[in-house]
Amino acid sequence: METVTLTIDGLQVTVEKGQSVLQAAIEAGISVPYYCYHPGIGVDGSCRVCVVKIEKMPKLQTSCSMACTDGMVVSTRDPEVVEARAGVFEFLLVNHPLDCPVCDKGGECPLQDFSYTFGPADSRMDFPRRVFDGEGVRADVDFGPTLMLNRNRCILCTRCVRFMREVDGDAQINIVDRGYGSEIATFSEEGVHSLMSGNLMDVCPVGAITTRDYRFKSRPWDNPNVVDTTCTLCSKGCSTSAWLKAKPEWAKGSQLIRITPRFNPDVNSYWMCDIGRFNYHWIEGDARLRRPMQRRGTALEASTWHEVEPRLRDAVQAAGSPDPASVRFLVSAHASTEELFVLKQLVEGLRGAGGLTSIAVAWTRTAKNQPAGTRFTIPATDAPNVNGARDLGYRVGAGNEGLPDLEDLRTAIEGGRVKALYVLDPGPEGSIGDVSWIVAARQSGTLPLLVVQGVLMTDLCAGADFVLPGAAFVEKDAIYTNDQGRVQAASRAIAPPGEAREDWQILVNVAAALGLSLAYSSSDDIRRALATAMPGSAYAQAGQITFTRPVPAKSWLQSSNPSERWKWDFMFQDLPPVKGHNVQTEDMGREGAYIPLRAVE
């Protein structure tokens, strides 16, 4: 790597050649404000707040556009810089409504933070402010199906314009009019229609673009804890952060308040798609399974684990004893590698080495409507772990490139050759594909026994004889292998609801009920066993994979964008005290301990 060495505020900094002075300053922990610059999109140089003084240059320079050269001497604190910067900050607030108390960005707003640090104490502006669409919350106008736009708050940094042009690949946003009348707009006010739209809230350095999903739902200081996890809604496996609310009762009982992307240069850069961002409400939704259930006559009745397990054993043994091959399994590729590993051991324990042939893996594929020039492609496969299943020896056909092959299973079921079917479906709804034929077979009696280990009260569950409530992906520590073959950790953010259990444990208990002793007392144990079982593979280090626990969410920026991480240390130290007391996360602080189930209602 070719490097250059320069001096910033007296500090010698060595950076990779080609880096800008701003990047060098940020890396050296020197606070330089910026708005139009974003590490994931091109340089614009228009906001003018990152000005610095560079020796031998007559005018102040924008550090975002100035490449570092050897021997360059930069000052970010020269009185000339301080004064010029304060002037620009005054300009930025001349027409900003300062409605921070009702603004979703308030508390995690770069305009607030930098203005406090670098701006003048007061404004000399005494004219009425520029108003575009109305005042107060009336100024919030529709900006497509996922977003709202408040033009009054906009500082015209054009990050959204450039994000759409450069990353999304469809330049739907631009500026109309010019000068003081410039405003962010879409053609014919159609709004943004993109699978990447949620990122616009992230890139917006003010509260101009907000998501309808998060709007008015929480204040930053009410989301005191954040977990670095991994999205499992497709085979890409974006690094994400799950945000937890301190007072779930303020948000209709939900703890999970939003999901934001986390920088991962190898997978998702700074971005994530709207599917992963907005499709989380089912996790704490009303359709969640909270208790085990068993069929009595035509109705499913709530039960308890200790009651269900022996009955399940009896039912499975009764159905499978004439022909063990008539017990079949259908597992969603949303199941984690640990679950697939335990399931594999379970069937092999029951049926010997060829046991895997009794398991079919299911997933769905959806063509994602994206512009041709996009820099962020969302894979068609909607499941996170097809590769994990393949690596464990499951039959997955063309894998992520194709559709699952369930014909064999379907023929067997419809031909009455299957006496018991065990389905593992950790959600979300529909992710296991079309299973109406299973429901039909059970209803007609062709399939005598249906066991569903799942998370949502789906049609499949409604038709089952036994329903075992499992955990959604944010409710368990688990690994998934994405379409690049990368083994990634998805950390537990919240506990499964009610009596629901982590799926590996359900499988271990079912195995025990069936007389198989799988001696795992935590998912860590399974990963260690997996590592031992698959030496020399991508899983050889599975035992050492670390999972994060909820940590104080000092700021959204901190966990979504490492190049802005320093900001916290400078500016966010006076975070208001966390309101309330989060029982859930307190339990999670116990390292490696199994978390006792606890009702959160």
């Binding site: 228009s46 003018r48 000005v51 102040l60 010029a84 002037g87 300009f91 009019d177 010019r178 000068g179």
Partner: protein, 436 residues
């Protein structure tokens, strides 16, 4: 020795714009023929020796600009002719294109040859509709006559000239904004570096030259660099067009050498101040430059002469102001223009111009407070030097310059709560009330 016009000698004769007239009276396309017999480098050297400086405003040596155009590249190169003449008080390019279009076309062709370009784009101001029609017709004739197109004069040199009409933005006259606009984007300036000479139009090496600059090129090739240099003072050679407007008896475009003083321009060429009133101030180079006062009339109207006097020759748009002009109103009037034309890309210019205009409006209405003067000064200084392009400096200049030279008038506005000029003079001053 009386100055013999060379650029505008024939402009008042009938059909001066035609190819026939150009061939008959101005040794038409001989410059191009001659240029094609020497190397492109020779042309650049000749232009450098002539000392030709850009006529668009900055006065940057044209030969040097061409020399900077990246030669060692597989990319195409381009000439962009800046015909987006929008600076208030400037109307010289308009005359050249309307009355002497072939001089420009020939200049474009020679310039293309000099920098190794095959295409020249003339970016013409949106309002110059009839000029565009003339230019288009004459370009067509030049093609037919073989002065443009493939293999000109059998030399193997190809040159195409296209016209692109702007959509009416002052900022499109900034060279990088012009390039953006030409590419079909919003006319907003680019960050520099890279300069257009390295990455301009379609990221290819580009030279952006003013109409008058390009019109001088055939003259240099034809008459020699020394002839050109000797027309004016050292480093300020060549013919110069002056646009004289405001309170003069004969406003118009005048061609003179840069030996000519401001006094000669105003009193000899333009016939003196209207109604023989006392002169109050002159804006020597279009609205973006600092004012000069009557005691500075005897300086030569050259790039260096005007700069020495504390202003800039700019586009040589002389705006003459007599004693009836209220300086606060003048600043407000100009800021109305700049506020409207700011492209809005960078913060200080977008927010600052509007703010300045509002303060000036308040002063002119008689509602100003004494602290408004400091505020004007402070806001102006927060714009100067902090913007992406030179627009911000240009916009703050009328305020800073009038405040420096006529601060008493500002103070009087605050003290009296009204404009202190006689009511009869004030009546003519629109307030742009409710504009936008």
């Amino acid at each position: 020795m009386a100055y013999e016009p060379v650029l505008t000698k024939h402009i008042n004769e009938p059909n001066s714009y035609t190819l026939d007239f150009y061939m008959k009276n101005q040794r038409g396309y001989e410059g191009l023929r001659k240029a094609l017999t020497v190397t492109p480098n020779d042309i650049i050297e000749q232009v450098k020796t002539s000392g030709l400086r850009g006529r668009g405003g900055a006065g940057f040596p044209t030969g040097l600009k061409w020399q900077f155009v990246l030669k060692d590249t597989p990319k195409a190169r381009y000439i962009c002719c800046n015909a987006d003449e929008s600076e208030p008080g400037t109307f010289k390019d308009h005359v050249l294109m309307e009355r002497n279009p072939h001089l420009l076309i020939e200049g474009c062709a020679i310039s293309c040859y000099a920098i190794g370009a095959k295409v020249a784009y003339i970016y013409i101001r949106g309002e110059f509709y009839h000029v565009q029609e003339i230019l288009e017709a004459e370009i067509e004739k030049a093609y037919t006559a073989g002065y443009l197109g493939k293999n000109i004069f059998g030399s193997g040199f190809d040159c195409d000239v296209y016209i692109h009409r702007g959509a009416g933005a002052y900022e499109a006259g900034e060279e990088t904004a012009l390039i953006e606009s030409l590419e079909g984007k919003r006319a907003q300036p680019r960050l520099k570096p890279p300069f257009p000479a390295v990455a301009g139009l379609y990221q290819c090496p580009t030279a952006v030259n003013n109409v008058e600059t390009l019109c001088n090129v055939p003259l240099i090739v034809l008459n020699g660099a020394e002839w050109f240099a000797k027309l004016g003072p050292e480093k300020n050679g060549g013919p110069k067009l002056y646009c004289i407007s405001g309170h003069v008896k004969k406003p118009g475009v005048y061609e003179a050498s840069m030996h000519t003083t401001l006094r000669e321009l105003i009193y000899d060429h333009a016939g003196g101040v209207l109604g023989d009133r006392p002169l109050k101030a002159i804006i020597p180079g279009g609205s973006s430059v600092p004012l000069l006062t009557p005691d500075q009339l005897d300086i030569p109207a050259s790039f260096d002469g005007v700069q020495k006097a504390g202003s800039l020759l700019g586009s040589a748009g002389l705006i003459v102001l007599d004693d009836t002009v209220c300086m606060v109103w003048l600043a407000m009037n100009l800021l109305h223009f700049y506020r409207h034309e700011s492209c809005g890309k960078c913060t200080p210019c977008r927010e600052g111009c509007d703010w300045l205009y509002k303060i000036l409006q308040r002063l002119e209405r008689g509602e100003g407070r004494s602290k408004d003067l400091d505020l004007l000064f402070g806001v102006s200084n927060n714009i100067v030097g902090k913007t992406l392009c030179a627009f911000g400096d240009a916009a703050a200049t009328p305020v800073l310059s009038t405040m420096k030279l006529f601060r008493a008038e500002y103070e009087a506005h605050v003290r009296e709560g009204r404009c202190t000029l006689p009511a009869a003079w004030r009546a003519k001053q629109p307030l742009f009330a409710g504009a936008h």
